[in-house]
């Protein structure tokens, strides 16, 4: 990852969403992007130029644009039409983003499009986040990484965030996904945890 004076940046065409530019590099703000916050919290998960990424819940394509700066190709899945409109504009100007308008909960609808990837990044505000991760595992190489951004309030508002996290982790472990670490994204994002996992067995 590229840091300039303690600020996380990525190298690519700027002006995607009015981000600041320092010394020609695009500032990747931890308050706007959960993935950036994860790096600020000290997690080591390098994005490399040969990496293929499946990005579930791409939204307006702001974080996607930074991920695309670092990696070879990003398959960006988003269902809602309004964010997709913005994401398309980002994808038109970045040749390594493949926008997929589909529901991440139904990978069969986009399975003929998406190849095997090294990293699945999931940022979906849905109750069944474990189920979605497991269903999308068919795209994850053996030994590939899964980063799950858990918005505990979307799973169940009435329960304690810690309980939601431990339940989610148990669900992933039961499915044979090894959890490497988890990280609360305070102070950047409240009640959000990032779970970093590795796919032990082959996806199929």
């Amino acid at each position: 990852m590229i840091w300039v004076d303690g600020v996380l940046v990525s190298i690519g065409e700027g002006g995607v969403y009015g981000e600041r530019i320092i010394r020609g590099a695009r500032v990747w703000d931890p308050y706007r992007s959960k993935l950036s916050a994860l790096y600020y919290k000290g997690t080591i998960l390098d994005l490399t130029p040969d990496m293929r990424v499946l990005y579930l819940g791409a939204a307006h394509g702001t974080t996607v644009s930074h991920v695309a700066d670092y990696t070879e190709v990003v398959y960006a899945v988003e269902l809602a039409p309004r964010p997709m409109q913005e994401l398309l504009e980002v994808a038109r100007r970045r040749r390594n983003i493949v926008p997929v308008m589909a529901d991440a909960a139904h990978p069969e609808s986009y399975a003929p499009l998406v190849e095997m990837v090294d990293l699945i990044y999931q940022d979906i505000a849905q109750p069944d986040q474990v189920g979605i991760a497991i269903r999308n595992r068919i795209f994850l190489k053996s030994g590939g990484m899964l980063v799950l951004m858990l918005k505990t309030r979307s799973v169940d508002v009435r329960r304690e965030p810690e309980d939601v996290l431990s339940d989610t982790e148990a669900g992933l472990t039961d499915a044979g996904i090894r959890i490497i670490t988890h990280e609360w994204l305070e102070p950047y994002h409240h009640d959000h945890a990032a779970i970093v996992c590795r796919n032990e067995i082959s996806g199929t």
Binding site: L88, V98, L113, M116
Partner: protein
Amino acid sequence: MQSYWFGDISEGVCMPFLGDVSATADRVRVLRVNLTDFMPPDWQSAVGCGVSRDRQDYISRLREVCILLAERRIWEEYQARDVSLYQMVRTLDEMDTVINLLTGRVIDWYQVTRPSFSRKYRRTPPRNLVRTISGKREGSLSKIASDIERLSETRTLLAREVSDTAENILPNCSALIGGLVAARLLYQAGGLSALARLPGSAIQVLGARTALFSHLRGKTPPPKHGIIFQHRRVHNAPPEVRGKVARVLSAKLAIAARLDRYRGVKVPEFLAEAQARIDAAGARP
């Protein structure tokens, strides 16, 4: 057989799909895959098929197909008739907020220019006050007041338009609670399909989110009504039966929303029965 966007592969033999980008997009839409023993596509097979020259070519063609697919789907979503109603009612509610805010501001401002002015013992509605202020020569203050008046006129126009559109798109719901409230329900639910899938109990508390969650989390009483309170049937009902009216009305609305979504026309038999049932609920016990 494995089906991919670029062709079908069966026992190592590839049947490439040779259509252009548009035809490929059509193909992807109707492709059905079974995820048990599915192998995701890889670019080497596409090259083997003769569809792509190399990896770069594979990604760039796939991108074209995906962008086209997404553009078409967005367009289809926006074609749905309820999308513009959603935007209209949202704008209407936003306009109300703005008009009220500005009116309050202008009256406050006017008051400091007239130390002897007071609204005590006068029943001047804010609207008339705004008209008075706009008629004075107070520079930008009067200008803002006349802007508010113009905004109110536009608001009235928009409200009528929302109501007409709602009666067209939500004929049964509108017959039960009026076009404006029906449109607001649609907005809160997030669209006609979403509204049609809600149970009556959820429709009853649509728009009462804060009260509902404070009830679920703590010991506060549950909300009896959300947006549907805006209809006179609910807010004019005697307090002791108001909750009952809200419940019966929302149960009928759930049926009405489904009729609107799947039939799209007024169903007089249903409406007559529903109206009678709601009126009966509102009768004093």
